[in-house]
């Protein structure tokens, strides 16, 4: 089951690359594969025994037996939701890429499918080297997707992205090698907990860059601005969650002592990122800038939840990971749809798009209010749990979070108003139509997922850890 989830998109990518299909059939095939992947995931949800929890659908084959490295994959409760986020968001991104008609469709969609498989691999790998392999396999298609299909400044954006992430990855590789050799196994389930600060910091560096945490977000604005909207959606919606997953699955679970030791500085960085990102989002001049910096803020919040290491914070961060993934994917896709109509993302040149475009207005408004965590939304549920969790480490963290909630309201409302309200902007012509049925077909399912989650956030929070006790799972290192 787990292997099917990983291999299906990879195989589909190979088929699309190898067969001389025309654009339409390649797109249709890719979309079909992405939807099949969603179908397999639904099977996974149905069959996963949430009552029991823990590692399920495990599969293990020896790889280099003398180093105790194996192909070991499996699924925990919370990874079910992250995989779900991945397959749903990727399906939407592939559908949108297909509809928008990117150049060299086969190569493009093949890379997207490959990326899907790699991300699912990251969320399921139970062996450190395999985890690293998938982590890198996830980055490579992204380098190409940003560097080839991006906007005018794509080369600079890609270079920054590659440098930052490679630096992190290599530190992580060094940590993995030292950690694995010292414990005499690379198996993530078997491997014991370590108290080495250096190994811990190596992992943290990789994940903090990927997330990103302040001040390691130098690559973020460029990468999110220059890539095509669906790639930006995946970058901020899905790929950043791989880092949060790493914090949760490796950093705090395998390094309890260093995690406690470095909690205050990490929480501080996360809190600074939260406020900093919110403030910058408030002044960002374009749609993508707002979403990019709000992503920085949200990742800070998620990190706070993970490093609070208590039941509330862990549940909340898993919920917020899924929620922010969906929100950010939807917002970037919507940004793409707006830019397609107006040829600009500059807020100063937009405005008044609500008039005569009820579908766009409704979808954007709904996503926006969920993004600003209006109470009763799933984002609110996640943020509430995280801040309630981090409150136990000091009320100051929660006050920072509360300030950020107010700032979030300010920047999201500014974004919504700048696009939809007031006078019609110079870049908005009457020829800019409302959302087409195909575009609605891409974003409405995402919004529907968000609304469903808002009605029942406990679907995730109650079904992420064994007996809803995240701390027990973490304390045992997810054994």
């Amino acid at each position: 089951m787990t292997t099917v989830l990983i291999v299906l998109p990879l195989a589909a990518a190979l088929v699309i690359w190898l067969l001389p299909l025309n654009d339409v059939s390649a797109g249709a095939l890719a979309l079909l594969a992405a939807l099949a992947e969603v179908g397999v995931w639904i099977q996974l949800v149905v069959r996963y025994d949430f009552g029991q929890g823990g590692l399920q659908f495990g599969q293990q084959w020896n790889w280099f037996s003398d180093l105790h490295v194996s192909y070991h994959v499996g699924v925990y409760g919370f990874s079910v939701w992250l995989i779900g986020l991945t397959v749903v968001a990727m399906a939407a991104a592939i559908a949108y890429g297909f509809w928008a008609g990117r150049d060299r469709m086969r190569a493009y969609l093949g890379l997207m499918l490959f990326l899907t498989g790699a991300v699912v691999g990251v969320f399921t790998a139970q062996d450190l080297l395999l985890f690293y392999a998938f982590f890198e396999a996830m980055m490579i298609p992204l380098y190409v997707l940003v560097g080839v299909w991006g906007g005018p400044g794509r080369m600079a954006a890609t270079l920054k992205f590659v440098l930052f992430t490679m630096a992190g990855s290599l530190l992580m590789l060094a940590s993995i090698v030292v950690y694995g050799l010292s414990q005499n196994t690379f198996d993530l389930v078997q491997i014991g907990q370590s108290s080495s600060d250096w190994i811990f910091l190596g992992f943290i560096a990789a994940f903090a860059i990927k997330a990103p945490l302040f001040p390691l977000h130098g690559w973020l604005p460029d990468a999110y601005r220059e890539s095509s909207p669906e790639v930006a959606a995946i970058l901020s919606g899905v790929v950043s969650k791989a880092a949060a997953y790493g914090f949760l699955r490796i950093a705090i679970a395998k390094f309890p002592e260093p995690a406690q030791h470095y909690r205050a500085p990490i929480l501080a960085l996360a809190a600074i990122g939260l406020i900093y990102g919110s403030l910058l989002a408030f002044r960002a001049p374009d749609i993508r800038g707002v979403i990019a910096y709000s992503s920085l803020a949200q990742m800070g919040l998620i990190t706070m939840g993970v490093f609070s290491v208590n039941d509330l914070g862990l549940d909340g961060s898993v919920l917020l990971m899924v929620n922010h993934g969906l929100v950010s994917t939807t917002l970037f896709l919507l940004a793409g749809m707006v830019e397609r109509r107006t040829l600009t993302g500059e807020l100063a040149r937009l405005g008044g798009m609500a008039r005569g475009r009820p579908a766009l207005a409704t979808v954007l408004l709904t996503t926006g209010v969920i993004a600003l965590a209006v109470p009763l939304s799933s984002a609110f549920a996640g943020e509430f749990l995280i801040l309630a969790g981090v409150f136990r480490h000091g009320w100051g963290w929660s006050v920072v979070g509360a300030v950020a909630i107010v700032l979030a309201a300010a920047y999201v409302l500014r974004l919504i108003s700048a696009i939809l309200h007031r006078d019609v902007g110079p870049a908005v012509s009457d020829a800019a139509l409302d959302l087409r049925p195909a575009e609605l077909g891409v974003v409405v399912p995402l919004v529907a997922c968000l609304l469903a989650l808002s009605a029942w956030p406990a679907a995730i929070t109650q079904h992420s850890f064994r007996n809803d006790r995240g701390t027990d799972d973490v304390a045992r290192g997810f054994k």
Binding site: L159, Y276, L280, D311, L312, V374, L387, D423
Partner: protein, 626 residues
Amino acid sequence: MIYGAWICLLSPLAAAGLITLAGERISRRGAGYLATLSCFVAFGGAVATFVGLLGRDGEQRSIVSTAWTWISGGSYRSGFEVMIDPLSVFMMLIVSGVGALIVAYSIGYMDGDKEERRYFAYMALFVFSMLLLVQGGNLLLLLAGWGMVGLSSYLLIGFWHERPAAIAAAKKAFIMNAIGDATMALALFLLIKKAGSLEFGILGGEYSSTVATLVALGLLGGAVAKSAQLPLQTWLPDAMEGPTPVSALIHAATMVTAGVYLIVRTHAIFESAPHVADLAAGLGAGTLLVAGLVALVQVDIKRVIAYSTMSQIGYMFLGVGLGAYANGMFHLMTHAFFKALLFMAAGIVIHALANEQDIRKMGGLRQLMPRTYLAFLIGSLALVGIFPFAGFFSKDSILAAALDRGAYGYVLWVAGLAGTFLTGLYTFRLLFLVFWGEPSPFVREHFHALKSNAVGLSLAVPVAILAVLSVVGGWIQWAPLWHPIETWLQTAAEPTVSPENWQEWVTSALALLFGIGGMYFAWLFYGARERRSVPRFAFAQRVLEHKFYFDELYDALFYRPTVWIAKGLYRWVEDPLVDESSTSLGQDTRDLGRLVARAQTGLLRTYALAIASSVAVLAVVFVAVK
């Protein structure tokens, strides 16, 4: 009975969802009917619940019905649940009843607007949110409803989104409310930490006085933001940019009174933090004076009523802060009647005058629209608290409660009485300016009477019903003689003050006197045939016209610093440090690459020579090491 409560909660949500999904497949009028119907269904559900509750004994009148676990985290969990108790049923009746009337009124008022469907979807969403607020079975759901009403209020204030003023007002309202949400959330975090749960029952637990004070302060922060009390009051007047029925429903009858409901609902924690309760009463007294003063100089018909709303909510805060919960809730109810009436009558005036709201251009409407005048008069008398109109019964008993509270109570009592004078003054200033005298040239030019078609009916009928309620609504309870509301709410919130009968009588007499005094002065300056010239105090006038400079203060204290900090961060951190460093990192790497690339001559022989010589060197090294 439980089903009644659920139907009450969910039917407006269903209507909102249906209207949104139906899009253009539903006619604009159809959307209005659907929304109205859903609100009446909700009212039916509320009545059924009320009847069901009546059939139970006092102690068994609190039922929690959980649909599913909404959120969980370890051992903490909160269900999606409704709470049915005398307090919530009381509020359900007001919200769905007044809400249904106002939505029905909207069918006429919004007739011809291009986006009626959106309007009715928002209205239905608001009614759902407000019902969620009052029915929510735990503090988290209360907060959820709290935020949702803020959202729907944002949507409705900014309904005419092509007007920059409307959008600015909407954002301001939302952000001010978000501040309140945030302080409430902080209070809840503290409760989760201390009690591990957010059921209402935990509020009565034993907490250290610091904890109780902090929690109460957090909740009070939410309450003042939502109810537009000092110091978070500045959004409410601006919110009048929304359509008039919205002002009637949200910014007069229901949402803004949620703060009062909150304090009553969480009274246990306020009782363990008496200083915060006193603070609430003090803020109420302060607001009622400030708002009353500012209302004296406003020239926009809706803004005058908005300030009077703030002022009246100030009375309610005064009451519930002192522990006179039933009196506060009673005033909340009568206020919902007469303030909605005033807004809707004002709406008819605005409608008849081609959307003009400036009272300086109005006058002499008494002859032209006598029935509207009558409705407005009833509303005004009820607002001032003249016997036997509704406000008389509810407001006076709040003031009487203040007498039962020692020295602090006397201060509040005096403030309240002064407020009564102001109320009489500004209310009748408005009435005289708009309705008395000769029709102004503007009125002559623009006036067009209501037609007696569906539009006219939908405007007139709710106003008539509310007019009747504004007269008889107060007779339900006359504190010295009979008090069914107090009895009804007793199990939910036991009052901590009980004024003596002589206090009630004295207060009533004085309040009546001051109210009539205010009306008399209004008549002297604005109503009499030979008007006195209005005394001018340039300084006071300027201060009042600037609403005590709160807007300017907050602008300077919060908005501008935020913008400056954000700009500063871009200028001194993001661009030079983060962006520049990553750019130069990229550039340096590229330069380094260029440097190394020089070794690549492209000549095959160089490579071969390099390989050969390296092998030779290695061989020598190996041999040497060996």
